[in-house]
Amino acid sequence: MNPSAQDILRGCVENLEELVAPEISSPHAKSAMMCARMLINHVILRLDQEGAALVEDCREKRRLLATLAEAGEFPPALAAEVRTLAADAEPGHITMTDLTARNDAWKRLFERALAEPLAPAVRTSLRAQLAAQIGREAAYCVPALDGPMF
């Protein structure tokens, strides 16, 4: 989706700063607004960086703990637990930016395919996949529309 989650949050911060903050007179509301603004800025950074940071941290801890366990530095029970966890490969990480670009590439091909004069069965199969895509997107968009905006 364009704008990205991060840019949506940047817009929220801009609106809080320019439109909401000047209107607030209650110190309690002002404090809550300032904290909300900081937390949104935190989430903007976190969305961008947390995945890569967790992957890197897992790799470093795995390497160090596995080395120390193999060197006999830990009690047998702890070393066994390290070996158990290390038996599973570490999950990979791809940024939302890269994943979105990849998904957009497939969606563009879908648009081109649907613009062709297709056999009815082919169009039906493409539409079924679109229904699945829309259903997944609706799961994280529609529940947010839970009241009037104006």
């Binding site: 989706m1 364009n2 704008p3 840019d7 949506i8 817009g11 929220c12 801009e14 609106n15 320019e18 439109l19 957009d104 969606k107 563009r108 879908f110 648009e111 649907l114 039906t124 199969s125 493409l126 539409r127 079924a128 679109l130 229904a131 699945a132 895509q133 829309i134 259903g135 997107e137 609706a138 968009c141 529609v142 947010a144 529309l145 905006m149 104006f150």
Partner: protein, 342 residues
């Protein structure tokens, strides 16, 4: 670009002074912005001046694009022209005082429109009341809405000059298809990402068009309770003509019923419309246009994200409307089209 731009009161005062040179010491007494005013800003101003030892007063409505530009492609000048062309007809609209686009008077680069103020209420008071008398009054309100739509749809738009202002469908048979194609072309110009689902729903609407209307009419589109000015159960001013178009009258009925159906059921309202309108509208056409209205909103609101993404308009309402609403519409219409049942 600022998220909020107060009306430039010194500039506006100077403007009114040159507009009304016979009003000594003309000044702005009150300035209030209407709510919510997402697509265009509307300001209510009271002009005061000295008149023979007394104070003269007149209220006006000033309308202009937001600092980041209009959400739609429709220029403010076209909307002003609709007010000018409709004034004096059976369709009540506020009188256009002036559309100003001379460089020396622009408000931070924005042209603006001034129109007369009409006293009234946006939501008739009887709609909030209960009891038999109120129920009858509510039906009267819906009938009034239908009466005014029928009056609008009866206008000879071609001789009035609307054909030079608005796109004309190629044929009554093609009204629905032309409406869809215009919005697919809007996506071609403004889509912020690939949207195969929205485009395919457009194809489905094209493949399943509504029955042709008897004739092409002038439509208000954005109409219903909350969109007009009411006095004593009568519409005295129809406002917000930004979406005015030529096409099938069924669209106006589908939109109106979005706010009137809870006061009088749709079948009864449609039967009443057909008893006062020059040409009947079918229930099937209203149903098709109800879906189209959702589709149109999804295309237009997604397209408005261009103003956010290029930094011109960062209001969060654009995000709620442009990111979430189109997904909900796609979910509803893809289910109606049975996309998932392949």
């Amino acid at each position: 670009m600022p998220l909020y731009q107060p009306l430039n009161e010194p500039q506006m005062t100077a403007y009114f002074q040159q507009l009304f040179p016979d009003r000594p010491k003309a000044r702005l007494e009150t300035v209030k912005r209407s709510y919510p005013g997402m697509s265009r800003e509307t300001w209510w101003v009271t002009l005061a001046w000295d008149a023979d030892g007394e104070k003269g007063r007149e209220k006006f409505v000033v309308r202009l694009d937001p600092p980041g530009g209009c959400m739609s492609d429709s220029p403010l000048r076209d909307e002003s022209e609709v007010y000018r062309l409709l004034h004096g007809t059976a369709v009540p609209v506020p009188r256009l005082v002036v559309h100003e686009d001379r460089p020396q008077w622009l408000l931070e680069g924005r042209e603006f429109t001034i129109r007369e103020w009409i006293d009234g209420e946006i939501e008739p008071a009887c709609l909030r009341e209960t009891g038999d008398e109120a129920e009858a009054a509510k039906i009267g309100i819906v009938k009034e809405q239908m009466d005014k739509l029928a009056a609008l749809h009866a206008l000879d738009w071609d001789s009035m000059g609307f054909g030079q202002l608005l796109p004309i469908p190629s044929d009554p048979e093609n009204c629905g298809k032309d409406d869809v194609v215009r919005h697919l072309e809007m996506l071609d110009r403004h889509a912020q990402e690939p949207l195969p689902g929205l485009r395919e729903i457009g194809r489905w609407l094209l493949d399943n068009p509504p029955p042709a209307p008897a004739r092409i009419v002038l439509r208000k589109e954005n109409n219903g309770i909350g969109e007009e000015i009411w006095q004593d159960g009568r519409i005295v001013g129809m406002c917000d003509w930004e979406g005015a178009s030529l096409g099938d009258p069924a669209l106006d009925l589908a939109v109106a019923m979005g706010t009137t159906a809870k006061y009088w059921d749709e079948d009864a309202a449609l039967a009443y419309y057909n008893s006062v309108a020059p040409h009947p509208v079918t229930k099937e056409a209203v149903g098709w246009y109800r879906r189209f209205w959702g589709y149109k909103g999804a295309c237009a609101l997604h397209s408005a994200l261009r103003n956010y993404n290029d930094g011109r308009d960062r209001r969060v309402q654009l995000l709620t409307l442009g990111c979430l609403y189109p997904v909900m519409v796609q979910a509803n219409l893809s289910a109606a089209a049975q996309f998932g049942e392949g």
